[in-house]
């Protein structure tokens, strides 16, 4: 599974001060872009440009944590639409489907957790490289994007 993101070039136009941005700013307005979520057969990518990527990384961690104890389902709601991603864990496998695209992606649960962790680490590194003032933001620090674990 290819699990990646693309930061929009103009994502910080409406974010006044990233060093002092609050949780709402960081989870709804900052670091927006696309998510890429696909296999050779299925594409659940959302290339809408406005998806808040910090929020997405945190939600993926939360979903991994929620399903770590055993079988179950979690739903990710996109922030600006009724679109959803559904995560169903059965045994050691995770099946992912989207309300906005056909098909399903099935991968080992542990692979999903690893990819979610990698997603957060890469996003953290890119954001801090492009906007170092984020590193001074206590709310952002508390997110511990690079410490994603389930």
């Amino acid at each position: 599974m290819h699990f990646d993101y693309r930061l929009s070039e103009d994502w910080d136009e409406n974010t006044t001060d990233l060093a002092t941005a609050d949780e709402t700013d960081l989870r709804y307005y900052a670091a927006t872009g696309d998510i890429i979520f696909r296999t050779d057969q299925t594409d659940l990518s959302a290339r809408w440009g406005w998806i808040p990527l910090i929020d997405f990384a945190l939600a993926m961690r939360k979903i991994g944590e929620g399903l770590a104890v055993g079988e179950g389902s979690e739903t990710f709601e996109f922030t600006e639409s009724e679109a959803k991603l559904q995560f169903d864990r059965r045994g050691q496998e995770m099946t992912i489907s989207g309300s906005y695209a056909p098909g399903k992606i099935t991968i080992p649960f542990t692979a999903f957790v690893e990819k979610a962790r990698d997603f957060g680490q890469r996003l953290d590194a890119e954001l801090l490289a492009k906007r170092p003032e984020l590193g001074q933001n206590p709310v952002y620090q508390a997110f511990k994007l690079s410490g994603l674990s389930a």
Binding site: N14, E23, T24, R27, Y28, Y29, A46, R47, W48, G49, W50, D55, L58, A59, K62, I63, T75, F76, E77, F78, T79, E80, S81, E82, A83, Y100
Partner: protein, 131 residues
Amino acid sequence: MPMLQWSVWLSIGLMVSSVWGARGQDVTGGSPGQVIVTQRAIRHVEERHWPDSPAQGAGKFSPGITEESFRQLVGEAVANGRARQNSHGRPGQIYEYDFGHPIGINIDGRPAYRLRVVVNQRNQLITAFPF
């Protein structure tokens, strides 16, 4: 002695009322009728959900929407809609309300009858869109 008893009861009363008040704020996020709609939130909604917005994958309000009519839709949805906690650790609450008539289009381009309103813990509007 009666004075001492009176002051003890007064102190207990103040403690109980302050704890109760704080709990009420945490649970409800303040009075639903008092959602604060900032210009920044309006700008955000215009960029994503106004009829002429180019944003993909996001519901759009019907042509003719104005800032004033948008505020009215938000107020009605918050006053009469179903409330729930935001998901996956996101701050604040979500209100959803079915207006019974189209207020815009959803991401599939079909008529949208419902409005989702997202507010933070301070009861400030974060976003709102038809679906």
